[in-house]
Amino acid sequence: QDFLDRFQARIDAEEKIEPTDAMPEGYRRTLVRQIGQHAHSEIVGMLPEGNWITRAPTLRRKAALLAKVQDEGGHGLYLYSAAETLGVSREEMTEELHSGKAKYSSIFNYPTLSWADIGTIGWLVDGAAIMNQIPLCRCSFGPYARAMIRVCKEESFHQRQGYEIVMTLARGTPEQKAMAQDSLNRWWWPALMMFGPHDADSEHSDQSMKWKIKRFSNDELRQKFIDATVPQAEFLGLTVPDADCKWNEEKGGYDHGPIDWSEFWRVVKGGGVMNRDRIRDRKAAWEKGEWVRDAALAHAEKRRARKMAAE
């Protein structure tokens, strides 16, 4: 208990916990789970956007999308590294992803059905991710906090780029505008669900707050997101698909209609449109790549042996 108190005191003093520091098992476990999940989300997140790389409608957009997908891979890489400082290997985490034991953000279980979705994902999904992640830049665990600083900078670039794609469509031909509205209709509610269940129903929150892994509640972050995003939609001449969405002068924010949590749980539990396909594609890439990874290991081993023989 003494140890726990001292640990909590460090947290309360806003000291950063580093991998070599002693830490409660629960703290370690929570971070491994959260960082791993976050890393997996970046990796799986490459798929829905990657789905439009070969069909991007201009070379400029193709290049920007490639760069974005590459950034996501990069985020995955530093996040896996941050998790590795806590003693889990990338292989273990990858296996947990493929077996379904580890989760990733449910939003990536929705399909990208039009080019507009590439804009909308940047605007809404990266937008929501930033809301979640900015507080993580001050997370008590040092490697995670530092990774998030870099991630957030890139995400906010992606978010602006996504918004710009949607704006171009919203100001384009009637077909393009319809494409943008349709995309907003499909992604709005899933984006709101990205903040997780209402505070009253949220599991891990209290302890995470105390450990300063989490700093705002799900509902607080969701409200911030809505307040930032609804005016952006209005500016584009697009309509958020929520008849109850209106400005509430009293609370100084937008009200929103009820969220369909059965849909949320359905997708979390594997019932979304793309859950199986996402894991199938990741596993296929992994399995088809096995001979390449094996060869790299074998070659490194041969080099080492030759070098030793030469010495």
Binding site: M46, G50, P57, A63, V69, G74, D281, G289, A295, A298
Partner: protein
């Protein structure tokens, strides 16, 4: 129009290979390659964009880089056959990349002395990129060639499959020959020694040998392609063509 044609050939090489590489995105054998693939694709597509833009200006009909990329069909594409070959496995992809970069690196090196300002500009940037592609792809060719039994067999298959497309890199079309005579582009045939030096060095480490090629394949510069390119272009051009005149 000769210069326009010659530039288009170069641009098509870069776009087609960039597109092929981009098909790997999210499906690479390890995460590091999920970063390296878009990186290489971006280099190639970036070069293609500058060249298309320039070609459009030379043509003088107001065609944008995108009109050039998205509105020509496979008979109008002038890329060499090497770059359009399907990704197949990772060994094929890396060898294709190595062959292309081992040619383009000395090409852009020499193009630094072009009489054409745009070409000099492209060359300055591309030469460093191609050096990176040689390094990256070359390391993989070595690892796979001298890795496991399976990887060595796959690497040999890749050489068997792709070696016949190498010679076309060194052949100048009539349009390219004019641009070469004018000092705008380097002479393709001149790249052979530098290319051979790189390939021989890497192949030696990779335990690979360059096979005798009885029938080198050419035709790309005349728009005579294999059957895969058309499928690639249908996917690439679908959206652009479905909305004529739209801005994206």
């Amino acid at each position: 129009m000769a210069l326009y044609q010659a530039i288009l050939e170069l641009a098509d090489d870069n776009l087609v290979l960039g597109h092929r590489v981009s098909e790997w995105c999210g499906h690479a054998p390890l995460l590091e390659e999920d970063l390296a693939m878009p990186n290489m694709a971006l280099d190639l597509i970036g070069t293609a964009r500058t060249l298309y833009d320039y070609a459009g200006k030379l043509e003088g009909k107001g065609q944008s880089e995108d009109d050039m990329a998205y509105l020509r069909d496979e008979r109008e594409y002038r890329n060499c056959l090497l770059v359009e070959r399907r990704n197949d496995d990772f060994a094929h992809t890396m060898l294709r990349q190595l062959y292309f970069a081992a040619f383009m690196k000395p090409f852009w090196d020499a193009a630094a002395n072009s009489s054409d300002e745009v070409i000099r500009g492209v060359a300055g940037k591309a030469v460093k990129e191609m050096a990176y592609h040689i390094r990256h792809a070359g390391e993989w060719v070595i690892r796979l060639g001298d890795g496991t039994e399976e990887s060595a067999a796959r690497m040999k298959d890749a050489v068997q499959a792709l070696a016949m497309y190498v010679d076309e890199l060194f052949v100048s079309s009539a349009a390219a020959a004019e641009a070469e005579a004018a000092g705008i582009l380097p002479k393709r045939a001149d790249m052979r020694p530098a290319f051979d030096a790189v390939i021989n060095h890497i192949f030696a480490e990779a335990m690979l040998t360059t096979p005798e090629v009885a029938y080198p394949q050419t035709g790309g510069r005349d728009g005579l392609h294999g059957e895969d390119l058309g499928h690639m272009l249908s996917v690439m051009q679908a959206l652009y063509r479905a909305h004529p005149g739209a801005s994206w």
